[in-house]
Subunit: 199 residues, 2 copies
Amino acid sequence: MKFSPLLNELIQALTCLPGVGNKSAQRMAFHLLERNRKGAIDLSNMLHNAMEHIHHCKRCRTFTEDELCEICRHPEREASGLLCIVESPQDVLAIEQTLSYKGQYFVLMGHLSPIDGVGPEEIGLNELETRFSAGGIDEVILATNPTVEGEATAHYIAQLCAAHNVEASRIAHGVPVGGELEYIDGNTLTHAFSGRRKL
Amino acid sequence: MKFSPLLNELIQALTCLPGVGNKSAQRMAFHLLERNRKGAIDLSNMLHNAMEHIHHCKRCRTFTEDELCEICRHPEREASGLLCIVESPQDVLAIEQTLSYKGQYFVLMGHLSPIDGVGPEEIGLNELETRFSAGGIDEVILATNPTVEGEATAHYIAQLCAAHNVEASRIAHGVPVGGELEYIDGNTLTHAFSGRRKL
Ligand SMILES: [Zn+2]
Ligand SMILES: [Zn+2]
């Protein structure tokens, strides 16, 4: 950008957003300057605010600006005795959007990955054990991703549950609702068969 | 986002970016919080800075943080006697990237559109006439878009040029280099034929 070094810097800064390359960043910068300076100032303030105030919930490790997130503060959810374990806050969001789960969560913020130096402590499993010891959890639902690492992490946590006499279950894998069999990968189909239920 | 109203507000604010819907905004917000808080703070500062300091060049109307943009301050470009007229700062950028034009620019920040109340004054044509009267411009290159409005705007400015005894030319329309004839629309092909040159 010969005509404005500052505009150049803005375009550069916008590429910190995932999926935004130089070309999209240019389009964004020009759009904001030409048509939405107020939106840009609002975004600037929100970014600052969010990065300063959003941290991890002391109890479930999801993102929140409070000490405990709204889900953890909910008495009915605590009373449910259910604890769903997921890899990321996005997973909490996806499950919440189904409106069908009314228990609590524990967010690993990752999965076990010994090769990357991510062990049980890095994904908060000592905190999880402290929580098991405190009591009040009847069942753990392992909702880690159906990947090799997610399965290994679920398996590891299932053993912790057994050691603490907490029931553990794994979410079902199978053919997505509305999916067509011919487009489903073999691994999923195998899961769908082995997880079949009597009608 | 039940667990963090502030995160919800950040996601909302990110949708002010063009091409960013709720789903992408979510992905961006989580990415920044999890992996690039420094990038988010830098972006916040750059947005603020850019919106506060970037305005229109007094001479060519493109974006700049100075009174005159770097192109307008360049003595060789002034000496060229060439003035290229474009609709937007992005067009300046596209032309600059070709490295083949070494004259000055005038940015309309739009095109004539009587139906939307955009007349000659709104696209700075009075400033352009003042510039014609000041002298020093030998040729105007009309590089507005090859749309109905862009053509009408080019035609209108060509008349102003004639009134001020300034030569005016229109950029060539035709088959893009590397384009395949069968995929080119008929209008462009017509232009390509009528604009043919002897070899
Ligand atoms: Zn929580
Ligand atoms: Zn300028």
